[in-house]
């Protein structure tokens, strides 16, 4: 089995975001990117399948941020067999453009399974997992929380809500949007990543960034006012503890 995992850099969720001068995008000059956490789970699920079936795992990323090399080398260090970077200095791309580039690259590869994260925080114009499936005319299941290889395909668990799940048998090839791997993403030592970097087995391919998705235009971005509606407690932790205990008392629980 050949498994392709799509890895996407996203702005670090713990960093403060700032807006560009014209207010229609993030100010990306000093923005730090990390691997989309759901993609990290997709990689883990792929590596679990590799452990079980001996599948070949390749990882794919678009050259949309400086951190992409690091993301790909980390995946190699964790156990991916191949890593491929599509384009360089592409700048931020909308999710339709990302899906188009991934689908173009994977069409010839013909993997049995394409895994990526169920969503990313910037998928304004569509979800990459489903858009790639649509472009390649493959079946897809989103919000997957577990897989099991079976004869003639793969069995997947899709999460609905309130903890209800549904099981599906999916014929291959297929695309899965992973919400959570069966196990927490594995840890890899920095030394192993450095080693992968030194080995330098990064395949690189030229791609041309497609036009932005037609029909959708961001006219303004805002950072929602912090604590809009919330009464903000001032002072150090002792002052905050005093205030919170008072709130708990008024609520009748302390």
């Amino acid at each position: 089995m050949k498994i392709a995992v799509l890895l996407r850099p996203v702005p670090d969720p713990v960093e403060e975001l700032e807006l560009s001068d014209d207010g229609t995008d993030l100010d990306r000059d000093f923005l730090g990117y990390v691997l989309n956490e759901f993609d990290d789970h997709a990689l883990e699920e792929a590596l679990l399948l590799k452990d079980e079936t001996g599948a070949e795992v390749s990882v794919w990323a678009l050259g949309t941020a400086d951190e992409v090399d690091q993301i790909l080398y980390t995946a190699l260090a964790k156990g991916a067999d191949r890593a491929c970077k599509l384009g360089d200095d592409l700048g931020a791309l909308d999710s339709r453009a990302q899906a188009t580039l991934f689908a173009d690259a994977l069409g010839d590869e013909a993997p049995d399974l394409i895994l990526t994260g169920v969503q990313a925080a910037d998928e304004l114009v569509g979800q990459v997992a489903v858009l790639v499936a649509s472009a390649l005319d493959l079946p897809h299941v989103e919000v997957v929380v577990g897989t099991e290889p079976v004869d003639g395909g793969i069995r997947v668990t899709k999460e609905f809500w309130g903890g209800i799940t549904g099981d599906y048998q999916v014929a291959l090839p297929a695309v899965l949007g992973i919400q959570a791997a069966r196990e927490a993403p594995r840890y890899v030592a920095v030394s192993r990543v450095r080693q992968a970097q030194q080995e330098g087995n990064l395949e690189e391919r030229d791609v041309t960034a497609p036009e932005p998705a037609p029909g959708v235009k961001v006219v303004e971005m805002r950072i929602p006012e912090a604590g809009e509606g919330a009464e903000m407690i001032e002072g150090d932790e002792a002052a905050a503890a005093d205030a919170i205990v008072e709130i708990l008392r008024r609520a009748g629980v302390a």
Binding site: P13, L17, L26, H41, A121, D122, E123, L124, G126, Q127, V130, A133, S134, P139, H140, E142, V143, R155, T157, K158, E159, F160, W161, G162, G163, I164, T165, G166, D167, V170, A171, A174, A184, A213, G215, V216, K217, V218, V219, E220, M221, I223, E225, A226, G227, G229, A230, M232, I233, E237, A238, A240, I244, V245, I247, L248, A251, G252, V253, A254
Partner: protein
């Protein structure tokens, strides 16, 4: 092209979901601005039996097809796309849920319509526009549609569900879309969640830990505080995905909905998926080092600072 709004409804085990009615309510507002009607699509095996639940719509389009057993990630988007082609609505509303995530993007691709996702509001009075929550709620974007038709994937809470339960003609129309279903995805059945050691929906006090708790070892501190307050520890999704707490402790879209007297959020950023499961708590107190954290938008009280500095101080006071 019609001036209508088409709402793609969803249901699980014979019950329409709440967000389906929220979208009908939103659809009514949009249809009033467009001078059109609200049509809803109810698709699935046994869909006809649910048609009378949609009195909030003007027309209920029923696709009752035995092949659409449960939710079919391959069949449902194809049926929705065929109905869009046949009815030509101006606006299509899809819930941004587990089911909607399989439907919206494929529907847009198949019908060649633009898609706007993560919508918390959609407007139609002066061209089509939406307000979207991006970057896990840290950014709000105003988006305009160039052209006069689009699909919107809408987050829960965009309009009151009660407003979508009645007020339309509810005329039922059975639709035969004759869609070719390749049958590459087969439903095997649903599983109900296992009961956990603690029922977080029955607690007066929840101490809720998010990504900011940093490690599994640190959860003990939150446990101690929860115990002192006579409550329990719950968590946001990243903590559960790490395996630090069981799924039964998860609050939010893919977890449980809770309404405790006090919701003390420690290091929880407040992504829309989380807020969906806790916004009706009576008193929400949020602690986060990031002053931009969207949790402060839903909290009643907030403190910007380190939870590891605060928790010992709180414990000392609560225990004395």
């Amino acid at each position: 092209m019609s001036d209508n709004v088409l709402v793609i409804t969803e249901h699980l085990e014979g019950e329409p979901t709440e967000i389906s009615f929220e979208l009908i309510a939103l659809g009514r507002r949009l249809a009033a601005d467009l001078g059109g009607q609200v049509e809803v699509l109810v698709a699935g095996d046994g869909a006809a039996a649910m048609a009378d639940r949609f009195g909030g719509a003007d027309t209920v389009l029923v696709v009752d097809d035995a092949r659409l057993d449960g939710f079919d990630p391959e069949g449902h988007p194809r049926v929705a796309a065929a109905v869009v082609e046949a009815r030509n609505p101006k606006v299509v509303l899809v819930p941004y849920t587990s089911e909607g995530m399989d439907v919206a993007s494929e529907l847009a691709a198949r019908t060649d319509l633009p898609l706007v996702s993560y919508c918390k509001d959609v407007r139609a009075a002066d061209g089509l526009a939406a307000t979207c929550q991006l970057y896990a709620g840290k950014i709000e974007a105003d988006v305009e549609v160039e052209g006069d038709r689009a699909v919107f994937a809408v987050l829960s809470g965009a309009a009151p569900a009660a407003d979508g339960m009645s007020g339309g003609a509810g005329a039922v129309e059975t639709v035969d879309v004759g869609v070719d279903l390749p049958g590459r995805v087969q439903a095997l059945g649903f599983t109900q969640p296992e009961a956990g050691d603690v029922d977080i929906t029955a607690q007066d006090v929840l101490v809720v830990v998010g990504r900011g708790i940093e490690s599994e070892d640190n959860i003990a501190e939150a446990e101690e505080l929860a115990e002192a307050l006579g409550g329990a520890v719950a968590a946001s999704r990243p903590v559960v995905d790490q395996g630090w707490l069981p799924k039964t402790r998860q609050v939010g879209k893919s977890g449980l909905t809770v309404k405790p007297k006090v919701y003390l959020a420690l290091g929880v950023s407040g992504a829309p998926e989380h807020v969906e499961g806790m916004r009706d708590a009576a008193t929400i107190i949020a602690v986060n080092t990031d002053p931009q954290a969207p949790i402060f938008g839903v909290a009643h009280y907030g403190w910007v600072g380190d939870l590891f500095d605060l928790v010992p101080e709180l414990l000392e006071r609560v225990e004395s």
